[in-house]
């Protein structure tokens, strides 16, 4: 109990004293996961909408693949990206291993199936009536797709919240491809693992509570936007 209290006090102190290392770690966490979710949304929402709205051969198979990948273990993703980016790997020439970019790539691979999967299901749940209504009122295919996305906005924003939560709290992949290098690729989760192993429980708890606080704040803002967007 003492340990936890001590950790919380330390966390408070690290935050109010603007501890440079803690803030650097925090910002890197935010940057890596934020960029991964942003790119993931740019790729996952349009592709998910296309899959959700179009009928084609093998659609069911593709959807089940996407759904399976939604639960991809981060460690496995880390391993895969590591093999791709390592010097002898196919993408080794870019020398990305142990950089924030490698971490973004790894998280992106995790995020895309989540965004895509939730987008597919929320776009498909928009009734056929809505699609026909838009077309009947004179919408082009493109305008109809935008309308369906608008109708599915609750589901899609949920996808973004969920994937951001998964990305920022994930440790396996960023540990493998980032290497937890101090001042370079250390993020909140890898730092917690590291400090715990060193027995620095106070610092670990401090970083843990910062992570929780951050996740809470971001979810709160996104949920607020989601609701105000619905009520408009």
């Amino acid at each position: 109990m003492n340990l936890i209290l001590e950790g919380l006090l330390k966390a408070f102190w690290l935050i109010v004293s603007f501890d440079r290392e803690v803030y650097e770690i925090m910002f890197l966490s935010l940057r890596v996961s934020g960029v991964a979710v942003l790119i993931g949304a740019l790729l996952g929402v349009p592709s998910g909408a296309t899959v959700g709205l179009k009928e084609f051969l093998g659609k069911r198979f593709l959807v089940s693949i996407v759904n399976t990948f939604m639960g991809l273990p981060p460690v496995v993703v880390g391993l895969l990206v590591y093999l791709l980016l390592s010097t002898s790997g196919p993408l080794g020439v870019f020398q990305l291993l142990y950089t924030p970019e490698a971490m973004i790539i790894a998280q992106l691979i995790m995020v895309i199936p989540i965004v895509m999967g939730v987008t597919i299901s929320s776009v498909s749940s928009v009734s056929k009536g809505i699609r026909e209504k838009a077309l009947s009122l004179g919408a082009t295919d493109w305008q109809m797709t935008l309308k369906v996305l608008e109708e599915a906005r609750l589901g899609i924003s949920t996808a973004l919240i969920v994937s951001f939560g998964a990305a920022i709290s994930e440790v396996g992949a960023v540990m493998i491809v980032g290497g937890n290098i101090r001042w370079a690729t250390r993020v909140l989760t890898t730092a917690i693992v590291f400090e715990t192993e060193l027995g620095e429980f106070g610092l670990a708890i401090a970083l843990g509570s910062i992570l929780l606080l951050l996740a809470f704040m971001i979810n709160w803002v996104l949920t607020y936007l989601q609701w105000s967007g619905l009520r408009r």
Binding site: S127, G129, I130, E132, L135, S136, L137, E150, E151, L230
Partner: protein, 361 residues
């Protein structure tokens, strides 16, 4: 008459057929809808009304045959079909609205047509006023009643001033007040804007009130097409079987002393008609051809019945009464007469109608 031939119909079908899997929904439909007319498509459910309207709205492709819109073959590129579709509005049987405000719903067709902000605002407010929903702008469409939702759907289909309005049983399941609002809006846009209207319905009374011409669909085939008056004066058994014809009675017909036919329709009610048919017979009397009075009147009407008012239905412009005169009769009177005669539930009134108003089916 020659010049008439040269006017292109707004929409025309040529041997139009549509099948779903094995079932044939429409078979060889040939019909023309002229600019500015109101045409009612009547038929029981499953007769192909919805399919016909969906094909005309270019939401589906025909299995065989063609549809011409303003003389243009609609079997064209997707972009051209969108351009043609933008010249018509459709109201579906079940109102589907977007999950946003009433204003945004009605503005949507204008937004995708890139109307200017000012024109958009003007048209939306004007159209909402037309359907009696001024003040509903900020309401969420999902919070509306069925009748209000259907009026919003009608506003969406009219707001861009289409040349053709396709209405698929727009008033089914609505209460009389909403029905009459929608009916009067339909007549108004036809008269004032010259909008061509194609309305499907299984309510003959509605078809007759709104349309000059009627097409009857039966099992996907065009059974009859022609002037509403001609078709409804002597409805076929088929039409009467689904058409919600009021005051339909079956009874035995005998020749009376003066050569007129006396029909015993049960409940102690005998009515006079002009027919030479004897034996079992089915007749109907149109509600608006029955004269209502507080006390017996002297007139040329051969039939006079006394009854009690059982039910009063406010139809906005008129009042519909159900009167028990041995058998239950439905009559329509104007609001003014209703008020002047001080009719209440249980009032004793007289019903008069001519022998020639009794139509034999």
């Amino acid at each position: 008459m020659e010049w008439v031939e040269k006017v292109t119909p707004l929409i025309e079908t040529l041997d139009l057929s549509k099948s779903y899997d094995q079932a044939e929904a429409l078979k060889n439909i040939n019909m023309k809808v002229d600019r500015g007319e109101v045409l009612a498509v009547v038929g029981p459910s499953g007769s192909g009304k919805t399919t016909l309207l969906r094909l005309m709205n270019l939401l589906e492709m025909p299995t065989a045959g063609k549809i011409f819109f303003d003389g243009r073959d609609t079997a064209c590129s997707d972009a051209d079909r969108v351009a043609l579709r933008r010249r018509m509005g459709m109201v579906f049987q079940q109102a589907v609205l977007f999950n946003e405000t009433v204003y945004e719903n009605v503005a949507y067709p204008l937004k995708i047509r890139a109307f200017s902000e000012r024109k958009r605002d003007f048209n939306v407010r004007d159209t909402l006023k037309l359907v009696g929903l001024s003040g509903f702008e900020k309401k969420r469409a999902t919070a509306l009643s069925g009748g209000e939702a259907q009026r919003v759907a009608l506003a969406q289909a009219m707001v861009f001033e289409p040349e053709l309005l396709l209405l698929d049983e727009p008033t089914v399941n609505l209460d009389p007040r909403n029905v009459s609002t929608i009916e009067s809006v339909i007549l108004k846009v036809n008269r004032e804007r010259g909008t061509t209207i194609l309305i499907s319905t299984h309510n003959m009374l509605q078809a007759e009130q709104l349309a000059a011409r009627v097409a009857v669909l039966r099992d996907g085939e065009l059974a009859e097409i022609g002037g509403a008056k001609e078709i409804f004066r002597k409805p076929s058994d088929f039409l009467a079987s689904f058409g919600r014809v009021l005051n339909v009675f079956t009874g035995r017909c005998q020749l009376g002393p003066e050569g007129t036919a006396i029909i015993d329709i049960g409940g102690g009610v005998k009515i006079e008609a002009l027919t030479t048919k004897i034996g079992s017979i089915t007749v109907f009397i149109r509600p608006e051809e029955i004269i209502v009075s507080k006390s017996p009147i002297v007139s040329s009407a051969r039939n006079m019945l006394k009854g009690k008012v059982e039910e009063i239905l406010d139809l906005d412009q008129s009042v519909q009464l159900k009167v028990d005169a041995g058998r239950l009769f439905t009559v329509n009177i104007t609001k003014r007469s209703f008020q002047e005669m001080k009719i209440d539930l249980g009032s004793d009134i007289c019903l008069s109608f001519k022998a020639s108003s009794v139509y034999v089916m």
